[in-house]
């Protein structure tokens, strides 16, 4: 009897696997035309972020090289040198500035097998109190005469969270990400891309330093601080649509819209519009405007009514209701074009973005002349600069 059941299960599993394999093979047999390997290039970038009492800068390098006709590999090295006297540091740690460094190294390999482009990558990110390892796999293919490109991918990340000054503190979390995207040529001047993304987190998702504040009539500031408590799971989904349109005099318009929601109650959307304009043969100018808005997480509160007021407690300003707007521009100068030798083209680029953040339920708790809960809402501006050299070979 047991054997018979086991056999029936085995038959069902075999049939399912066979049908599954058939479906996959048929799906890819529909897709026609070969994809192409990414271009061989090297980029060296210096980045700088300054805003809200935080300065972050550092170098980044990305090199991509093909091996034969079917393999492309890349390596990336990225550094954030952080000096922070942010509002969070001032309110929680008492106006001290902390310094830290984040180093990220990533390696990827792309394999082109007839009509299929497969990508594998590994990324390691290290801070003195945070370590992340991420593996990803993706597959991409052109279909229907090259008018359509379908891509899908999966990534898994393992994180270890530490706490400076507390060597015994060690927590972990895991992240899984599934993504699907479709790029579609609409006309000879218009291309549209859609992307759908689901991400799940499990484990310790707090920032170990952040605190929430609650009303404490006995304290001189009328509030006191206690540790944040986040849920141990989070699932989010995002859907984006992007378009680029070629203008008759060789320029491009681009637009983007994204919606987002997660199991913590955050709903967000953002849009961007931009314009790219080449001029004088070797120059390309670009400008863009971006606007973002989100609602708060269910367990967020700027000032809880009393200690341990609810199961989950959060006061991260990233979980509050806020909006931000970005206005930016970039300029590129191309040189060494078509001169033969080992370099196809090179460019030097400068990009500048100015971002304004406006919080709607996160108050500036540093302003002690106000009663707790009546301080002005926090707002800050940030300037982001990038200077980089790109070489195609």
């Amino acid at each position: 009897m047991v054997l018979k059941v086991a056999l029936e299960v085995a038959v069902v599993v075999t049939k399912t696997a066979r049908y599954g394999l058939t479906l996959i093979l048929l799906l890819f047999s529909i897709m026609s035309n070969a994809a192409v390997l990414p271009a061989e290039r090297a980029d060296a970038l210096f980045h700088s972020y300054s805003g809200g009492g935080i300065d972050i800068n550092g170098p980044a390098i990305l090199v991509r090289k093909s091996i034969g006709d079917s393999v492309s590999v890349s390596a990336k090295h990225y550094v954030d040198t952080i000096s922070s006297a942010s509002i969070d540091v001032e309110v929680i740690l008492g106006a001290s500035t902390y310094e830290e460094e984040r180093v990220e190294n990533a390696f990827s390999a792309d394999y082109l097998n007839e009509k299929t482009l497969m990508s594998f990558s590994y990324t390691n990110s290290e801070e003195n109190d945070f370590s992340a390892d991420t593996f990803s796999f993706g597959i991409s293919q052109d279909m229907f005469g090259g008018l359509t490109t379908l891509s899908m991918g999966y990534a898994h990340g393992d994180n270890v969270v530490g706490k400076t000054g507390d060597p015994s503190f060690s927590e972990t979390s895991q992240t899984d990400n599934f993504n699907l995207s479709l790029a579609q040529i609409i006309t000879k001047n218009l291309i549209i891309s859609t992307a759908f993304d689901v991400t799940t987190d499990a484990g310790f998702l707090n920032n170990p330093y952040r605190k929430v504040r609650y009303v404490d009539p006995n304290d001189s500031t009328q509030f006191n601080l206690e540790d944040e408590i986040y849920p141990e799971t989070r699932t989010s989904s995002a859907l984006a649509i992007r378009a680029r349109y070629f203008l008759p005099y060789r320029a491009a318009l681009h637009a983007e819209f994204r919606i987002f929601q997660d199991s913590w109650g955050i709903e967000a959307n953002n849009f961007e519009i931009g314009y790219t304009h080449p001029f004088a043969d070797d120059w390309i100018a670009e400008t863009h405007f971006r606007a973002y808005a989100q609602t708060k997480a269910d367990f967020y509160n700027d000032l809880f009514p009393f200690q341990q007021a609810q199961n989950f407690l959060g006061r991260d300003k990233e979980l509050s209701t806020f909006s931000d707007t970005t206005i930016g521009f970039g300029i590129s100068y191309e040189f060494a074009k078509g001169e033969g030798g080992s370099i196809d083209k090179a460019s030097v680029n400068f990009k500048f973005d100015h971002i304004e953040f406006n919080y709607e339920d996160f108050r500036d708790a540093r302003q002690t002349s106000f009663a707790a809960g009546t301080e002005p809402f926090y707002q800050f501006n940030a300037n982001v600069m990038q200077l980089f050299l790109s070489i195609w070979f």
Binding site: T16, Y19, T22, L23, L26, I30, S32, D43, L45, I56, A60, I61, L62, Y78, I82, R102, E104, A106, T123, S125, E127, F130, A132, F144, G145, L147, N179, A183, I185, K188, N189, I191, A195, D197, V198, T199, S236, S237, A238, A240, R242, R244, F246, R250, A252, R258, F260, A268, N270, I284, Q294, A297, E318, L319, D324, N349, K351, D353, I355, S390
Partner: protein
């Protein structure tokens, strides 16, 4: 039943795929091939800006590029 139906549908599609005529012919794609029309012109720069936003906004995902790490303290 669902598998058989789907398999049949995909088989039919695979047989007819060869006859799908691209309405924008390869020789009409010069504008689309211009680097200014690329969704990912500068991957390193793009990845950096995604990271700038990811660290300061609640939303994440569907950026059309890759990020990595946290760095959001």
């Amino acid at each position: 039943m669902l598998y058989k139906f789907t398999s049949s549908l995909l088989l039919l599609l695979s047989l007819t795929a060869c006859s799908v005529q691209p309405w924008v012919k390869p020789y009409e794609r010069a504008n689309l091939a211009d680097p200014i029309m690329s969704f990912s012109q500068d991957p390193l720069s793009q990845g950096y800006m995604h990271h700038v936003y990811q660290a300061r906004e609640g939303a994440r995902g569907a950026e059309g590029g890759s990020g990595g790490g946290c760095g959001c303290n």
